[in-house]
Amino acid sequence: MASRPVTAARQGPEPPVEDDLATRFRDGDEAALREAYDRYGRAVLHLATTTLVNRSDAEDVTQATFVAAWLGRETFDPAKGSLIGWLLGIGRRKVVDRIRAAARETRVVETVKQLPEPVDTGPDPDTVVDRLVVADELARLPDEQRRMLELAFYDDLTHQQISAVTGVPLGTVKSHIRRGMQSLKRRWEVDGAAPGPRPAGLSGAR
């Protein structure tokens, strides 16, 4: 099973150095821009390509996202969320702007041509952002937790089956999955885009 992290070609147990990158990015270290792009450019491009019809629009949005992020880096607060969450938030707004502009254009054309409603667009940008955030967190989980969750998510195995496949005792499987789910949920509450049921008391900073 492929388990390359969505955002970085990180191998082994090396801890993420996100905090340092986020701070350097905010402080205007130009090398941090390239690092952020190498790490998160794929995710931003994915957000844009899956939600926009036109490939060159998607590349433009990716470019504009990093330009806007760099020029507006002083508004980024690493204490309020991750760098990838912030970048995806900028990308999401740009995608939504494009979709709205395209819809306006279509409406004008429709009015003139009197054609039926256009077919609906791609997946909801909020959902794509949420998936990318969850994928990023999944990639950061301890190996065992990630492995158990991938078996549950992708292969739809029960805890019992996971225990049988991996040889890990059932109780341990359960506790890995419980902890992993908690981490994914916390991360989504901080960096996710989609409004959803959130427990009272968590502001869900974005």
């Binding site: 492929a2 388990s3 390359r4 992290p5 969505v6 130009e30 090398a31 821009l33 390239r34 792009y37 450019g41 794929r42 995710a43 931003v44 491009l45 994915h46 060159s56 629009d57 590349e59 433009d60 949005v61 990716t62 470019q63 504009a64 990093f66 330009v67 760099w70 020029l71 959902t127 949420d130 998936r131 990318l132 969850v134 994928a135 999944l138 990639a139 969750l149 549950a152 998510f153 992708y154 029960t158 805890h159 359960k174 999955i177 419980r178 789910m181 994914l184 949920k185 989504w188 959803g196 049921p197 959130r198 427990p199």
Partner: protein, 256 residues
């Protein structure tokens, strides 16, 4: 009220087991547990949707080049209408930049990784020119194909729609080759400028009539391209005013 065990909620969310009678009754009555279960189900759904995301393709190199070009243009030039802000220690910082602690905003050098990407473009452009020379009508025209001395990706500037773009290439025969695409339509015409970012002095190189396409413009002999490094394309009105309108559509910085 006794809430459901959080472990149970996780297992229910993953479809590991069905809610027992008592649990169902509680979930109907308890908004807190119901909300938590919904959240966990949502997370599990997102988790299942992450499968393809482990092998995302890299963005193409020109996206990065566009980022660098656009940031350079935005950071190095304030606005054409704005007066050049006074700089302290102006003559001093020309020669000795390495020891400057506070880097000047303008005229500063980007690190090597930035220019490497642009140099790679220049190399690619030369490659293309070479291909054209090979494929072009050979035989009757033995004139050597001009080489590319410098090039600049041009990016949308200011409020220009982001799909506007272009490339500028300084050719060995002292011509500026411009390729533009998706310039917004303007009531007047487009004008091409070479600007010295330090002094904001500029030369008009020529005009373009189409928002997409190519043009070959002679570069004035007295332009020092090591100083006039910024290529700017502006929207101009038929107003009998030869000065830059201040409305820049595209900009980029020559390297090479």
């Amino acid at each position: 009220m006794q809430h459901l065990d959080h472990d149970r909620l996780v297992f229910l969310a993953l479809g590991e087991s069905e809610a027992a009678d008592g649990e169902s009754t509680h979930l109907v009555a308890c908004g807190h547990c119901r909300g938590e279960l919904e959240t966990l189900r949502h997370i599990a759904g997102l988790g299942a949707g992450t499968q393809g995301l482990t092998e995302l393709p890299d963005p193409p190199e020109h996206v990065w080049q566009g980022i660098v070009a656009e940031i350079q243009a935005a950071e190095e030039l304030p606005t054409l209408n704005g007066r050049r802000p006074p700089r302290t220690g102006d003559p001093a910082d020309v020669g000795d930049r390495s020891t400057t602690v506070v880097r000047p905003r303008r005229g500063r050098r980007w690190p090597r990784w930035a220019s490497t990407a642009v140099t790679a473009t220049a190399a690619a452009v030369i490659g293309v020119a070479g291909t054209v020379a090979v494929l072009g009508p050979g035989g009757d025209d033995p004139a050597p194909q001009p080489t590319v001395l410098a090039s600049a990706p041009l990016a949308a500037f200011g409020a220009t729609p982001k799909d506007a773009s272009g490339d500028a290439r300084v050719l060995g025969d002292n011509q500026l080759h411009l390729h533009v695409a998706n310039l917004p339509s303007v009531p007047g015409y487009y004008e091409v400028w070479l600007i010295d970012p330090k002094t904001m002095e500029m030369f008009s190189v020529g005009t373009l009539s189409n928002g997409s396409g190519d043009a070959l413009l002679p570069i004035p002999r007295n332009v020092d391209l090591s100083t006039f490094t910024v290529v700017d394309i502006s929207a101009e009105q038929y107003d009998n005013n030869t000065r830059h309108s201040g409305d820049s559509l595209l900009r980029g910085t020559l390297t090479g």
